[in-house]
Symmetry: C2
Subunit: 250 residues, 2 copies
Amino acid sequence: MTNRDVSQSAFRLSAPPPDERSGLLGRLLTLIAYHRLGPGDRLPGERDLAERFGVGRGAVREALVVLETLRVIERRPNSGIYLRAVEKQGSIEAIVLQAELGIPLTGAEVREVVELRRILEMQAMRLAAERRHEDDIRRLDAILAQGAATVSAGKNLADDDAAFHLAMVEATGNHVFLRVVHAFYLMSRNRRRAYFADGRRAPLSQAQHVAMRDAVAAGDPDRAEAAMGGHLRGVESYWLELLERRAQDE
Amino acid sequence: MTNRDVSQSAFRLSAPPPDERSGLLGRLLTLIAYHRLGPGDRLPGERDLAERFGVGRGAVREALVVLETLRVIERRPNSGIYLRAVEKQGSIEAIVLQAELGIPLTGAEVREVVELRRILEMQAMRLAAERRHEDDIRRLDAILAQGAATVSAGKNLADDDAAFHLAMVEATGNHVFLRVVHAFYLMSRNRRRAYFADGRRAPLSQAQHVAMRDAVAAGDPDRAEAAMGGHLRGVESYWLELLERRAQDE
DNA sequence: ATACCAAACTGGTACTACCAGTTCAAAGAA
DNA sequence: TTCTTTGAACTGGTAGTACCAGTTTGGTAT
């Protein structure tokens, strides 16, 4: 790439999946990254942005509303648009958005997500084992059956895997809990698909899932937690190894 | 300014308007509640909503964009606007929005938030005690000093309390963790202020906070976790008693 | 009863116009 | 020169219009 202007960002190069950051939101984040804007910095005005991106002002405003909702920016009437301390004040959904736009998580974020996921899911297993109802077990079984079909067909288990883990959290009966974990699965969908691209991993996951289901059905929190712990160890090692590989590439 | 760390803290809990539901967002949610709309149901068209609320279509669209990013609704081009399974698929920030609009949490939500908060903060204390740096301890001390001043002045400790707990999570070094807990504190700010409206609670909280700070500074995860556990027990009992009182009123 | 088609309606988008504040630099007063 | 004033330019907030390209729907012809 030789030519470099604002619209052709250097940011795109660092994104392994050139997942068409064509959307206005992506282009806005690209602009922020390109100009190295930090907390407190002021963005161009709405009219300026609209002209720069070749879209209407309404479209720009809608994108800005999203970023404001996610606590990425702050819009001060009659003054301007300002960046907030993203890494501290941003919402969890902001990371989800980031993932949807094809912006990969930073190394630090990956480690943090992995750590938090473990905390949440380990506790979820305890609660699920203590409180599970028949409906929960039936839902788990249905997902496992679906997963078995997916494995047989040689398809990607990623979504069935997510459904299983989310159903486990749902079995805690805590919907707020479910929302939080759901956000984590939304932000890591691409990585999960990549993980299961290696077909050998799916059967192992399925087997571990079955063990987890049984522990929960038996109402054994300790066994359930241990099963989840072992399951997560395998997944986490993949994520962290991937980080090391990425670090060596640079 | 000596306590610049505190006042210039990244956490702005001073919220948007705790105002009535005068905003378009609140009116939209009111409409949804009034018509008893559930998952899958279709909302009136944008033009209809605009006329109904006496605002421009652009304003309606911006409100809808917010609800869509929070996964409350789904907008299908050339078809309509549909409600999603809020309690399962909605984002955590949707609850924050709800709180900002003055819509109280349901009893189930309160119990779930309390439970999840305990899980998160107990683990946060362990990690904080293991990893705390000097900066973290200094930040905690600054917040405690600020809190002491607040108590002396007889003011409401709510925001200092939140700042302390968030600083604890920040001491884990996990920013994603911080984001999640931050959302919890955003959604419960009003309740926290009500809690500290009884001035007798502030000194107790301060004392417990000091104990927690010491345990973390000493690098003792078990003591830190236990201190947080005791602290939370008191707070939780207030929340749950409040629920019983509310239930009896009905 | 079925197949078909056109009108009505939908969200997506651009553009214009106006308001009410903020910002800031130039003009004026000390 | 230094400080004050003031006004023009600019800002986000909002309403309104027009058009596009699909979906939905109801009535017509088969």
